[in-house]
Symmetry: none
Amino acid sequence: MSSQSQLASEKVLADHRSRVGAERRTRMRACLVECALLVFAEHGVDAIIIDKVIKTAGVSRGTFYNYFRTDGDLFVAVATEVSDEILRVVNPVVVQEPDPAARVSLGIRYVFQLVKSYPLLAEFLDHGGQSALRYGKLVNEVVPRDLSKGMAAGRFTVRSLRLGLDLLLGPVLLGFHTILTEAVDDDYAEALAASILMALGVPETEARRYCSLPLQTLRMPVDSLFYRAESRKPS
Amino acid sequence: MSSQSQLASEKVLADHRSRVGAERRTRMRACLVECALLVFAEHGVDAIIIDKVIKTAGVSRGTFYNYFRTDGDLFVAVATEVSDEILRVVNPVVVQEPDPAARVSLGIRYVFQLVKSYPLLAEFLDHGGQSALRYGKLVNEVVPRDLSKGMAAGRFTVRSLRLGLDLLLGPVLLGFHTILTEAVDDDYAEALAASILMALGVPETEARRYCSLPLQTLRMPVDSLFYRAESRKPS
Amino acid sequence: MSSQSQLASEKVLADHRSRVGAERRTRMRACLVECALLVFAEHGVDAIIIDKVIKTAGVSRGTFYNYFRTDGDLFVAVATEVSDEILRVVNPVVVQEPDPAARVSLGIRYVFQLVKSYPLLAEFLDHGGQSALRYGKLVNEVVPRDLSKGMAAGRFTVRSLRLGLDLLLGPVLLGFHTILTEAVDDDYAEALAASILMALGVPETEARRYCSLPLQTLRMPVDSLFYRAESRKPS
Amino acid sequence: MSSQSQLASEKVLADHRSRVGAERRTRMRACLVECALLVFAEHGVDAIIIDKVIKTAGVSRGTFYNYFRTDGDLFVAVATEVSDEILRVVNPVVVQEPDPAARVSLGIRYVFQLVKSYPLLAEFLDHGGQSALRYGKLVNEVVPRDLSKGMAAGRFTVRSLRLGLDLLLGPVLLGFHTILTEAVDDDYAEALAASILMALGVPETEARRYCSLPLQTLRMPVDSLFYRAESRKPS
DNA sequence: CATGAATGAGGGTTCATTCAT
DNA sequence: CATGAATGAACCCTCATTCAT
């Protein structure tokens, strides 16, 4: 082999290595997030408990700290991904609706549908409380944008965005806990969504109409965080 | 001294002693609750941290365990007293109002008034989240009762009590965080209360009317938990 | 009343008082010992746990320390009284036997009879281990005397008193544990006693003969520690 | 370095690392056991007291819990190793003797020889009482087996294994205490062993003959627990 | 990069004993 | 004498984080 082609092949090799490395990094990180979700869903708010995460993932302590600086970072990562996964499924069907009021209604109802269908999601949101939804675009971008649009369009009479968010997220968060811990009617989520629209200023009849529109059945993609995590569960 | 009068005096002594003892016990317990409130307001949900409480109170570890079996017990005690203190001040003015919708509105607005006036209360409620209000009669008796009455009277169109509670408490809890951490208009609480009424089914104009009624300025009694705790703050 | 007779009557009164006082002291002390036995029988070696004793007795901490300087003192008191109670019942029937070998045999067998009949005694001895029998005359006077006599009389070929004690007490202590925790034949105690005699140098046939002599059924007097304690048990 | 040889060297490295790691782990564990033995020998039954152990070992609390789940686990580990060390030295010389009576006799006498030579062992057994010998094969396998054989061979007339164990272990345990705390003749152990044989049913002359056979002088190997622990003593 | 032993601050709880009233 | 609140030393256990290999 000539010296030149040797150099070239080294470059290729290096490229290949770094690409493989990057992939491995990504996979490892994903694995840790999945395991954290699992642990977090099972144990409480104050859990995460790195020990359990790394045991579930089958990696060493040191490895963990190669991917996350602190346990808080891990929590943020999980919460963000959870939020993004929800968005990934819910957003496509919601954005087709031009009316902000309809969007809000559908968004709430679809999220509740998911929570009912995916136990892991339910447990995470219930245990995590407020902070479980604080990260990611869902709460920080999408919902505020829809609220703003609705306010601009005069569909919502609520005066400030902040107030609108509190009126929307407050009941939703408590609602997660409610449907997980108490026996409620099947139409709980529907009624909750309607009431939230009313709080925002939508007339009752209209609010109830929006909220009785039929829903599709959404499914998380099989490569989603929830499936991946589920498949790691103690067989 | 005759044997008889001696016996008598012994009885008196015993009485006096037990009374003084009971008083001291009560004071000590109150002291611990105050310090716990302080600690809890400053540090987070998962705080309480017996160590800090006893250091603040200037008593020994053992003393703490003479009054509370576990740190959880202490938290419940604090949360309950906080709830009761709020009730003690707010209830008298609210109950004069026969209309459940008015009551709910006033209740919310007065609680926000207190939260704005008493920083300690604000911090406690903010840090404590849901659990900060889970104990005591306020959330477990008074609010449910008013909601039920309103539903029975047809003032609220909400279908279930549980839903009503979620619609009311959810925004209120987030609202506490909002007024503590963001600059909001003075009428935030007023608007929040109105929106909650709307969520419950009260027509907007009516809701806004209720919520613009003038409020008295409530003051915690000077012997209240909050004053006592405040006076213990690091000088 | 003349000054003189007044003095006299004061003396009488004082006498009376001090007598009553002494009685009360004795009763209180007895009460504490009973409760300690109860607590000790139920919980382990390292129990006693003054807290439980005073709660059982229904007296205050301070009172306890008026009767015993430390918890160790209390234990010694209990152990001593237990030993004395055993002696009080067993000794009268044993001393009628002039032969030291017979005495030792009967002593062991009667003690086992008591242990089987009085659960409290059994539990105390089992939990207390060695120290439960270290105090009182039984082990410190009576048994050594019988052993010495037997050695002097040539009935026992064992060379030293200490050795004889170890040979006797060792198996007896383990035997208590055995009969309390394992299913053993009814003749366990009998066989144990015979073997101990053999260890001391009594020929096997003779040893077995002694140990198959019929026993009376001993009963603790109704005013005994065990009855008194039993009657304090959580009804 | 070629990729291949790199992989190879990684493997070697990993191997080396895991071997070194395992060795270190073993040493640390041994260190903790040694220190526990020290602490336990000095203080009482209820000692162990993690605090003192880790201070003696010069390691952190956390380290302790990396090796033992609770303090009870540590005690079991110490007791087991002590038992095994005794067995390691005594068994080889005892098993050469086919006669169960001779084995029992030699076993007892050699153990006492060790107890006299190794103060740490003596203190451990004295303080630990029954539980000090409850673990490990010595009491749970070897001694029962020899007793059973002797019973089967008609050398022992004792009726049950349990009884035999009580007759053997009882005096031995008290004997440890005796030789540590009292001035006894040099032949105490010899006489004790003979008496135990007699208790088991061996005729006196025979028993004494066995027990006067000359003994070798056993030595713990220098890498034994006792040497290692001794060398850690407060210089 | 991976590993996992070691760390140690952080928290929790118990219980014998003292002492002012 | 009785009382019982207060004390504080003595223990126990967890878990996030570091670092040598």
